[in-house]
């Protein structure tokens, strides 16, 4: 990501870059068609996508990493370097990214400032990781707090993409008791279009798909009510799960190694959060379409949903209460038994008192 390389390629359109890299027109169109179908667009959009991508100039991208584990970057770099997606990613101008950039120290920060100035109002800001609000010192970069760097960098951004559940919803740092006071990007930035690409980590092709949409249309894709692109997060894992027929029939694996598990039955009882999780894992899959966690025999953790860490345990079925109900029921029963006896005793006392004070009325009394 050296500045020299950036400048050399900044003038080329994406089409030119791809041809230089030896990507044939045929495979380029195949990519456009795949992207269109993935994002549920009609086939008639394919030429439009191709034309737009051909002409697209490499947008400048600044990637900020806050309270995160670099898993999102790890995921992205595994978008299979031989595929055309990763080439496209190569050919945005990734001007600042801790893990991937060559520059370090003051040079790195200088690259960020330079890119912000040069592309003010046009660059894409990608953020992974949550922002600590408890104490600015919890997470700093070059002596600047995460909050200050985010606000400064977001000023000139055309749009902000929150990659990963931490950036999108606070994620693991935000989990109860949230010791750093972690918040999401959307909690802080209110005046820019924000797109959430949650997941722990998000699927590589989802990140590249969102970028492709932006390059093609110059705007962000249609989002759901919590800011996720509908194309990838429109359906739940459960609705697209190949084990769904077993759920419908009521055939469940009871443990990880019973007959049900071996037969590939539904993992609901083992705590699968697929029914309440919206993501593309069941269709797009991981490792170049190899499989996804449920296919590997493990229940979905629900990682693309807010607060997925606080759902009462990954192996607790969705229908189970998350707290210790039993203990409180015992206390409640004991307390209620005492209260019931007390109320009963009061009622009896009232009854005895009524009986004791009962006065018989004689006929003479009535004639008085």
């Amino acid at each position: 990501m050296s500045d020299r390389k950036n400048t050399a390629q900044a003038d080329l359109t994406l089409g030119e870059v791809l041809r230089k890299r030896g990507i044939s027109r045929r495979s380029f169109l195949k990519f456009c068609a795949a992207t269109a179908s993935m994002m549920a667009m009609p086939p008639s959009m394919v030429p439009a996508i191709a034309a737009a991508l051909e002409k697209a100039r490499r947008p400048s991208v600044i990637w900020l990493s806050f309270q995160e584990c670099t898993g999102c970057t790890e995921s992205l770099t595994r978008s299979h370097s031989t595929t055309i997606e990763s080439l496209i990613f190569d050919h945005i101008s990734l001007d600042y990214h801790h893990t991937l950039q060559a520059a370090a120290g003051t040079h790195a920060e200088a690259a960020r400032i330079a890119s912000m100035e040069e592309n003010f109002g046009k660059y894409l800001l990608i953020v992974d990781g949550s922002i600590p609000m408890g104490n600015p010192g919890y997470s700093t970069i070059a002596g600047v707090s995460n909050h200050d760097m985010l606000m400064e960098t977001a000023k000139g951004a055309a749009a902000v993409i929150a990659v990963g559940t931490c950036a999108a919803y606070g994620g693991i740092p935000h989990a109860d008791p949230n010791p750093t006071g972690a918040v999401s990007v959307g909690d802080l930035i209110k005046d820019k279009p924000i797109i959430n690409v949650p997941g722990c980590p998000p699927i590589p092709v989802v990140i590249t798909g969102v970028l492709t949409h932006f390059l093609t249309f110059g705007e962000l894709p249609e989002l759901d009510h919590i800011g996720r692109p509908m194309a990838f997060y429109g359906k739940s894992i459960h609705d697209r799960c190949y084990r769904r027929p077993f759920y419908d029939k009521g055939l469940f694996a009871e443990t990880f190694d019973d007959e049900g598990a071996k037969k590939g039955w539904c993992l609901y009882k083992l705590g699968c959060k697929g029914p309440t999780t919206y993501n593309a894992c069941a269709t797009t899959k991981w490792n170049d379409g190899t499989s996804f966690p449920i296919e590997a025999g493990h229940p979905c953790l629900g990682c693309s949903e807010p607060d997925f860490w606080d759902g009462g345990g990954f192996y607790k079925a969705l229908s189970m209460p998350t707290e210790n109900i039993t203990q409180n029921i015992i206390y409640a029963a004991a307390g209620a038994a005492a209260a019931g006896v007390a109320v009963g005793a009061l009622n009896r006392a009232k009854k005895s008192k009524a009986q004791a004070t009962h006065q018989k009325v004689k006929l003479e009394d009535l004639n008085k």
Binding site: T322, N328, A332, V343, G344
Partner: protein
């Protein structure tokens, strides 16, 4: 509050509150009734109170011919919805998981499509019941707001459960959360509405039979 936070609340604190109110409410109300006591019967017993009571619990659960002819609709629809409701509550696999978590007990489940059908049948039966209650002049006169409330508390978990299973209309976490919440509302109001009949029914039937049993006559 996000939909997942909503779901976490109903699965956590909400469930906790509802369970405590339900258990405490039911126990207090039953003790209150039992402790009212009865005057000592000074007559010599001519039969067993217990046997007479138990027999009546069974016999009153079966209709006699005359009663059936008089109110066939009430009996049939009543039985259908009670059976469907109880089976869907206690024999749906995810529900059994909940009972296992709370009480440590587990039992085999019915196939999901059977539960699905039972839920639909129960909903239809409950709808016909309310339609009749509202259209029949005498019944309408006898109805109290408490009756409508009890009906609403019963049908809501069935409808929301059906919607949550088939994922109709709203995001899945919201549907599930609404279903659990509707059950929690049911649990909270249960001890203070006519729904208490689930417990008092057997006490009342036993007592009716016990009186006859003591006297040595058929109830």
């Amino acid at each position: 509050m996000s939909e997942i936070e909503f779901l976490d609340w109903v699965r956590g604190p909400g469930f906790q509150i509802a369970a405590v109110i339900f258990v405490a409410g039911v126990i207090i109300r039953i003790l209150e009734i039992l402790m009212l006591g009865r005057k000592k019967n000074l007559a010599e017993a001519r039969g067993s109170e217990m046997l007479g009571g138990l027999r009546t619990i069974v016999t009153r659960s079966m209709h006699d011919k005359a009663t059936f002819q008089r109110s066939a609709f009430t009996i049939v629809s009543g039985y259908i919805f009670h059976t469907g409701l109880l089976l869907s509550i206690f024999f749906f696999a995810p529900h059994i998981l909940m009972f296992k978590e709370v009480f440590g007990l587990s039992w085999p489940s019915l196939p999901t499509p059977v539960i699905d059908a039972l839920a639909v049948i129960s909903i239809i039966a409950l709808l016909t019941i309310i339609a009749r209650r509202m259209s029949n002049k005498v019944m309408r006169f006898l109805n109290t707001p408490g009756d409508y409330l009890a009906w609403l508390l019963t049908i809501t978990p069935l409808v929301t459960g059906y919607m949550a299973f088939h994922r109709i209309g709203l995001p899945a976490p919201t549907l599930l959360a609404i279903h659990i919440l509707s059950v929690e509302i049911l649990l909270v109001l249960f001890p203070f509405t006519k729904l208490m009949h689930a417990f008092t029914l057997f006490m009342a039937r036993w007592y009716n039979g016990a009186i006859s049993g003591y006297r040595g006559v058929a109830s």
